[in-house]
Structure formats: C-alpha cells, structure tokens
C-alpha cells in the first residue's frame, strides 16, 4: 500500500462522511467531538466536547478509573506497596505493563514494582465483605516487605459492596506505624482513566505530600510533574537537570520514591509535563505551599531547549542561565544533525496522533522537527482545557461524572506557605514571557484544517487512514495491529513499543531514527507475491 496521500482531502467532507454512518443521536454527539481546526480572530479555538461517556458497544481506547489511579500515577513509584483490593484481573492486568522504568539507588533498595499484590477477592468476600481480608493482606504485605508505605486501590465490586477501605487504611496505619492510605478508584467512576488521575492526585496530596520538612540541598529546586519514565524518559531528563545544575526534588511519578513525594513541597518551581494527569497536584501545592507552576515540554529538541530556558529564566540566576545555554549549545546541534539525517525519508509525510492527555500534543513537536505534518490528532481521556487551553476552565460544565470526584479544599499552610517570588517579580517574569498556571492546549498549536477528534474509535480511525494514508499512526497497543492490518505502521506512544527514551535531546534523536525506520520500511511492498504483482503473460488457446 502506498503511504502517500492520494489527493487533497477536505476534512469537513470527511467529517460529514464519518457522521453519516451513525444513528442521529450518536452523530449529534460525535459531531461535537470531531472538529476541523480553525482559530477565531482572538486566536481562540472552537469548543470541543470531551471527557464525556463513551458509547456502549463502540470500541474505545479508554481505560478505567482504577487504571488511571493505580496504573498510571502510582504505578511508577518503586517503594510503595500497592495492594489491589478486588478480584484478580485488575491487579494482574496492571502488573508492569506500562514499561515504566525505575532505578533503585542500590541493588538492595526497595523496589516493589515487579510485584502484584492483590486481595484476590472470592465469592465469600463479595457476599460477606472484604474488609477482613484486606486487613490481612495489608498485614501480610507488611510482614513480607516491611515497606514505608502501603496504598490500597479499590476495584468495581469494592464500592458496590460498601467496603470501607479508608477505615481499614486508618486502622492499619495506626497498627503498623507506617503510612497506609486508600484510593476509592472503582473502575465505573468517571468516564475514563482521567478520573483516576484526579483521585490519585488528591490522595497523594492528602496523605504524602508535605510530610517531610527536612530541607533539600540545592539552589534551583524543581519538581517534574506528569513524567512517568516510560522507556527511560526520566533518566534522560534527570541527567539533563544534573548537568544544568538544577536539583530535582521529586518526579510525579517516573523513577520516583515515597520520600521524594513527602518533601516535594520544598521545591521552588513545579514543571508540568502531562497537564491532564497531574495539574491538580501542581495547583494544590501552589495553594498550600506557595511554589508556582509552569507548563513545560521535554518532547522535541527545540521544546527541550525552550523548557530549560524557562526554568533558568524563572530562577533568574546568571550562572544557571549560562550553564543551561552551554548544555543547549552542546546538545542541540547533535539533535539537529540527527534530524538532518532522517529528513530525506521523513519530510512531507503525514502523521496522526491519538493518545493520552498530552502526548498527542507534545509529540507533534518531534514530527515537526522531522518535517512531518500532523494531519489529525486527539486525546483519549483529556478535558476541554487540554484541547482549548486553561482559559476555558470557568466555562467547563461539571457533569454528574465529574461531580462524584472530590475537589479538595486547599488553603495556604499557615506555617509552611512561602511565596517564592514577590508579585513584582512574578509580573516581571510574566512580562518576559513566562506563563504561570497556563496550558494553552493542543488546538492552538495545530494548523488550520487539521482534524481534532476526541475519544476516537475504530471506525473513525479506519476512515481517517483510508482517506489520508498517513505515513505513521501513533496510538497504543490496542490499536497497533488494527492499524497495521490497514497497511500503516503504528508507533505506540503509551509504552513506546520496545523503544525509548524519547524525551530530552538524546530522546529526540532516538525518536527521529525510530520514525525513519517505520516510514521507510519496505515490508508493505511484500504484501503481494511476485507472481501476483507481475502475472505471467496470459495466453489463450488457438481455438478460443
């Protein structure tokens, strides 16, 4: 199959074609989730419907609340014992499947990530309640592992039978003398994993962040939020910060540890990567402890340089600025050289990205650097602010699904709140281009006439691929083999296939090479056997 677009596609026509196949009610809903990108005179994007329920029977990319809470946010932390309270499936399926990496400081250090702890509820527990078993499970995990902290994660039946996981956590915390906390992250809550992120943020804030006031050494202290160390991304960034002289107090939650979370409030700046999954923590830390947050992006060579410069600008230290510039001057040319190398194979080709709550946006940078155009993109579980920018937050409608996720009331800590900058300093930084508490969203940065599709399904992906014949489609493993059967290579941006890191300077070069490999593969030309491609000369019998 060819990977070149056959002819120019009119996205509005394609949208209409896609909607025509739906029953009227579904079509009405989907028409608000499929947009042809166009900015108005104020530079604002259109309103997109997002974070709404998936239609039953339509195959979605989305996961559940438990997946967002246990799998995504808490999964990458190595020294909290995570106990899944429920039947065996949920724990099993979230057992090391995201390719989060971790590097314990010594070989003897705690690392519970290879373990999958579960109460493995049976019929008896469903009928008579599972609290007793949960208590025993916490005790057993404590006896076997002796951890600093234990997290309890609820699956669907737990909420239905009314087990009080928080009471069990409280009791066991008292009994064992370690931190034990629970998450009411039953899968049926919320419309996607996004609800689970929020629940995870809340409980981390309530039970862990701010527990350790021991001062952290270092002049320029930051937290990196929404970075999950898939394929070693966090290692790449940690090294970069070290070279720049920036102290990383904690990462939420790639290559992270409990102690880092406990003292994360001592950092002076929060840098947010994946806005969707972690913005709540950034907001709450700022309110309670005073450290402001900025949106950063370490995906892409230029984006990495820009984010490093922003951090240096925030601290405003001449030495730091020089050091950051020196690192950029050393690294960026290498990245550019790597891009030059792949350009002949990548330039002018089309990419589609349907993934996550930030990656569909961030990875457009990398494609741009390779001369590729992102013709269609969308998030799996994002909200309007991730598409349109945080300025829409006051107008986002709160529906029943969002309402059942707790919004924590946070106030400034009377003793520990510390404004990191004076209002004048903040103003000066803002005037110089540092945007605090802002994420402008994906649609602002996409070209006009590109397609934005929220919570895309199989049928729509097929229509897109058929029309545009993109050179590469980015999504996850569930979509991978569907798209590849359609003759288009798929790059997994959830777990990076077997690759990574793709963050930072070194990561960008890795990604270029990976995409060049994918778009230049000859394998698609083998679809037909030689005798099918070039049939033998046909002949007829003389009497015919």
């Amino acid at each position: 199959m060819t990977t070149k677009p056959k002819k120019t596609v009119d996205p509005s026509v394609l949208k209409e074609e896609m909607l025509r196949k739906y029953p009227p009610k579904v079509a009405r809903k989907r028409s608000k989730q499929i947009l042809v990108n166009e900015l108005d005179e104020q530079g604002h994007s259109q309103e997109i419907m997002s974070n709404v329920r998936t239609i039953p029977g339509i195959i979605t990319q989305r996961g559940c609340t438990y997946a967002g809470c246990k799998g995504v946010v808490l999964g990458p932390t190595r020294d909290i014992v995570n106990i899944t309270h429920g039947p065996i499936g949920c724990g099993f399926y979230s057992w090391l499947t995201r390719r989060n990496q971790t590097l314990p400081p010594t070989p003897e250090s705690e690392n519970y990530m290879p373990y999958c702890f579960s109460t493995d509820m049976g019929e008896h527990d469903i009928v008579f309640g599972g609290e007793k078993k949960l208590r025993q499970a916490v005790q057993e995990a404590f006896d076997a592992m002796n951890p600093k902290a234990i997290g309890i994660f609820s699956t669907c039946p737990v909420g239905l039978i009314g087990d009080d996981v928080h009471a069990v956590a409280r009791d066991m915390k008292e009994k064992l003398g370690i931190n034990v906390f629970a998450f009411s992250c039953e899968g049926y809550k919320g419309v996607s994993q996004s609800a689970g992120h929020h629940i995870a943020n809340n409980q981390l804030f309530k039970h862990v962040i701010g527990l350790d006031d021991t001062p952290t050494e270092g002049k320029f202290k930051i937290n990196l939020l929404g970075e999950y160390n898939i394929g070693g991304d966090a290692f790449e960034l940690e090294e970069l910060f070290t070279r720049c002289g920036i102290t990383l107090v904690s990462t939420f939650s790639g290559n992270s540890s409990y102690d880092q979370f406990a003292k994360s409030h001592s950092a002076d700046l929060n840098c947010v990567m994946c806005h969707r999954s972690i913005n709540y923590v950034a907001e709450m830390i700022e309110k309670k402890f005073g450290a402001p947050w900025i949106k950063v992006n370490f995906i892409g060579g230029e984006a990495t340089a820009k984010s490093l410069r922003r951090i240096a600008q925030y601290f405003g230290d001449k030495e730091l600025i020089e050091r950051v510039e020196a690192v950029i001057a050393e690294e960026l040319p290498k990245v550019k050289a790597a891009a030059e190398e792949v350009l002949p194979t990548t330039e002018g080709k089309l990419a589609m990205l349907f993934v996550g709550g930030s990656r569909a946006h961030h990875y457009q940078e990398l494609f741009h650097e390779m001369g590729m155009k992102t013709i269609a993109a969308g998030y799996e579980f994002a909200h309007r602010d991730d598409y349109e920018g945080r300025h829409v937050l006051p107008s986002v409608k709160v529906d029943a699904d969002s309402r059942n996720i707790e919004e924590l009331e946070v106030e400034a800590d009377p003793a520990r709140y510390r404004a990191r900058k004076t209002p004048e300093e903040l103003k000066a930084l803002e005037d110089a281009g540092v945007e605090f508490k802002n994420y402008p969203g994906m649609m602002m940065e996409m070209e006009s006439k590109t397609l934005i599709i929220d919570d895309i399904n199989h049928y729509e992906s097929e229509a897109l691929i058929e029309k545009y014949k993109p050179a590469v489609f980015c999504a996850g493993i569930k979509e991978k083999y569907v798209v590849q059967k359609l003759g288009v290579p798929l790059k997994q941006l959830h777990n990076y296939d077997v690759g990574g890191p793709y963050a930072g300077f070194g990561g960008a070069a890795n990604f270029y090479r990976e995409i060049a490999r994918l778009v230049s593969s000859k394998v698609w030309t083998y679809m037909k056997a030689p005798w099918e491609e070039n049939p033998e000369l046909s002949a007829t019998y003389v009497w015919e």
Binding site: Y66, P87, G89, G122, I126, G187, V482
Partner: protein
C-alpha cells in the same frame, strides 16, 4: 480460598480473571464479537493483555457502565451496546460475558436478553451467547470452558454430522492448525472448538476486516449435537461444566475425555482415539513424526536426563507438561497452578506415576510468591511456564525458562509455539535440550563450542 496456603492475599498471581478466558474462547467462533457487560476498563485491560500475546487486532465490546448504571442496573447500556455491535460489525454472534461489576449488582442478563429479543425481534438478531463470568469466582480457564459450554448450549442441535467434536482447550493457534492437519491425515472430519488459529494469528490483509476471518463456523457448532463423538482435552475438567459434558447429557454424544496431547504418551492416547473413531491406522506421516521424536529422545537424553524441572501454568497444561517432562527423563520437582479444580494432584499422578520414582510436589491455587518460595529449596535446573515466571523465578534463580502457554509477552511468536502432538513434543524437546545446553555453555569457563 487457597489450598493449604499460609497467606490470604495473592502476590504475583499465576492465573488471570474469568471473563478474559471467555473472550478468548469467543474469539474462536466465526463472526463472533466478545462483549463484556461491565465497566469499559475490563474490555480495555483484557484487550491489551490478549493483544500483547497474540499481536493481532482483538476487539472486545463493552456496555461501558458508569456509576449511575452501577446503581440503577446496566440493562439499557447492554441493549444499546448490543445494537451498536450488530450495526457496526454485522456480527453473526455476540459472546456476552459478565464481569464482577454486573454480577455484584445482580444484573439479570437472561431477563435483559429476553426483553431485548422482544423489543428488537424485528431485526435480524445475531446468536447471543451469554455466560456468567464473575471474576471473583474461578480463573480464566473457568471462563474459557464456561463460554464454550454457553455457545454449545445456545447453538447445538441434533442434526446429524459425520464430524467429530474436538474440544481442544486453551492451546496456541499453531496447535489448532496442527490438530487440523492430524484430523485430515486420518481423513476424519472434525469440528474444532474454539478455532482461533486464524482470528488470533492471521495474515496480512488486503482489505481491513471488521471481524477477523476464521473461527469455528456457527453452522458447525449447531451440528455438534449430532456428532459421532466428542474428544475433550483436559484431565482436570469437570464434564458437568464443559461443552463436551453438555453434548453428552443433552444429545448423548459420547464424550472421550483425554489429557492435552502433550508429549509422546498423551499423544499416543489421542492417536489411538482417532484410530478408533476413523477406523484407520496411524497415517504414515504421523508415524514418521513419532519415530523421529523417539529417535530424538534417545539422542538428546544425555542433555536432559535427571535435570530438575519446575512447571507452572493452567492446570491442564501443567499436567501435560508434567507427563512430557517425566517421559523424557526430566525430574519434575514442582507442578503448580493458580487454578484450583481439586483434580491437579490425581491428574499429575495419573500421567507420571508409573515413570517417576518420586511424585513431584503439586501445588494448586498458588501464586508466584509461593512458587518462588518453594523453588528456593527445590533447586530446579529448568522451568517450563509462561512469561510471568521470568522475573520472580527464572531470573532470580538464574535458571532457564522455556516459555509455553499464555501469556508470552517477552518473546516473539507466541502464537506459533506448538505444544500438541508428536510435532509439539519434538519442538518442546528441542527447546528444552537447547535451553539446558545454552545454560551450560554460558556458565562454562572453558567456553565449549562443541557440546
């Protein structure tokens, strides 16, 4: 509850959840879309898990229940979901499995389906195959077996057919293809259920197919009640809960219960059954495979004899592997499974009792934490099992792991791993011998290049 375990919690489970098995079985029916009645996360998790093993598209629909539905019931969502699957896929059958959510709230699927039929009876409805699979009860194997029984329960009739039923259990696509070859060699028409040899291991397609082509034809399942006999693999199965059992109870189709034909002797028993059913002697090609296998067992005996081996996996697979291990001269020291049918010990004894001087330890209803704990004192030289034992067992003990069964997500080609028949035994034997040779070579200071 776990048999004789000191723990109530499960650490690193050696089993998966019930509805996953049902989805796998439904993937082996032609034109069938598996459908989970529950939260959408279940479908997503199981899809990603099955896909990582087979590397094929696997669509599992969901009624995507939210909090409101969890309180007021999921009937409306289920009906809407079924209509959408009919509409979008043109499915001939929908394999409808429940989850812990819908079982806990007590959704009455039978009643919802009868409402659905009366409300939409004017449409051409697919066969709906409902199976109760609460994940808090049993393992993926119970879901697998239950789904097949549900399919036969709904579909099978008395129409006569010369095709024998082969209920082959949870085996690989390559195994199913091999079973077809074997039956063809005996000139014996057979209905293999389930048949996911194409749906979960298909070729490159010219055009995208909404439902992967292949699978046991529904017409063939309808005729299973009129078959001359059923061969059902799995020594730990309870016929009261299997498709073969149902066919015997309801239609009087004679059920021959056999072990999974893994290794020489279990395959011999299978071939004997086929000889009887077909009235033909062992075909020459298969006889040649058997002869080559025995020859290889002689030649390779020096590499494997006396090596201590640890086996884990689904109960029926573990029994087959124990039988194979015993007959090639390995010493099985532990046979373990997350399943708890209560029949594992007797089944292991039945296949290895006459060969082994000492019976292996048998542990059912266990997790990898307990298996690893036992393994410390058992000093195995070799491990046979799925990928899940790599980190906690093989790597920890520095012992080679020969990957079999499901899931295999840290090696390529899981669909093409062959376990069954003489050919499967040959492949397993070669892999076992080579794993031991490789280990010896790698550990040797001398650096043998000729072993």
């Amino acid at each position: 509850m776990k048999d004789g375990s000191p723990f109530v919690s499960t650490t690193n489970a050696c089993k998966l959840c019930t509805p996953l098995g049902a989805c796998l079985a439904f993937k082996g029916i032609e034109g069938c879309v598996p459908f989970l009645h529950g939260s959408q996360g279940c479908a997503t998790y199981m899809r990603r898990y099955i896909i990582s093993h087979f590397r094929e598209p696997v669509d599992i629909a969901s009624s995507a229940l939210g909090e409101k539905n969890a309180i007021y019931g999921g009937g409306a969502n289920l009906k809407k979901g079924l209509l959408n699957v009919m509409d979008k896929y043109g499915a001939k059958a929908i394999g409808l499995a429940t989850t812990c959510l819908t079982e806990t709230i007590g959704d009455d699927v039978k009643m919802i389906l009868s409402e659905f039929r009366s409300e939409f009876g004017d449409l051409s409805l697919p066969a709906i195959l409902p199976v109760s699979t609460p994940s808090y009860s049993g393992t993926h194997m119970d879901g697998f077996t239950g789904a097949l029984r549900a399919a036969v329960d709904v579909l099978a009739g008395e129409e006569k057919t010369p095709a024998v039923n082969v209920l082959s259990g949870f085996v690989s696509p390559e195994d199913i293809r091999h079973l077809k070859t074997i039956c063809r060699a005996f000139c014996l028409p057979a209905t293999i259920l389930p048949d996911y040899s194409d749906t979960l291991d298909g070729g490159a397609w010219e055009e995208y197919e909404k439902i992967s082509p292949g699978g046991t034809p529904i017409a063939a399942i309808r005729a299973m009640g009129g078959a001359p006999a059923s061969l059902e693999f799995g020594r730990t199965l309870d016929p009261a809960r299997t498709a073969g059992g149902l066919l015997e109870e309801r239609f009087g189709v004679k059920r021959l219960g056999l072990g999974l034909p893994i290794g020489l002797r279990e395959t011999d028993a299978f071939m004997a059954a086929l000889e009887e059913l077909s009235g033909r002697c062992l075909p020459r090609a298969l006889g040649a495979e058997r002869a080559r296998l025995v020859d290889a067992l002689v030649d390779g005996h020096k590499y494997v004899a006396g090596k201590r081996c640890l086996i884990y996996g689904e109960e029926d697979l573990a029994v087959g592997l124990a039988s194979f291990a015993a007959e090639i001269g390995l010493v099985p020291v532990l046979v373990a499974s997350g399943g708890s049918s209560g029949r594992l010990t007797s089944a292991v004894a039945a296949v290895s009792g006459d060969i082994l001087r000492e019976q292996p330890q048998v542990a059912s209803g266990v997790d990898f934490y307990e298996i690893a704990d036992k393994a410390k004192t058992l000093a195995p030289d070799l491990i046979l099992g799925n990928s899940k034992g790599y980190r906690v067992l093989a790597k920890e003990l520095n012992v080679p792991l020969v990957r079999v069964g499901f899931p295999i997500h840290d090696r390529f080609g899981a669909s093409r791993v062959i376990h069954l028949g003489y050919r499967g035994a040959q492949s397993l034997f070669d892999r076992v011998a080579n794993a031991l040779i490789e280990k010896k070579q790698a550990d040797s200071d001398i650096g043998y290049g000729y072993i």
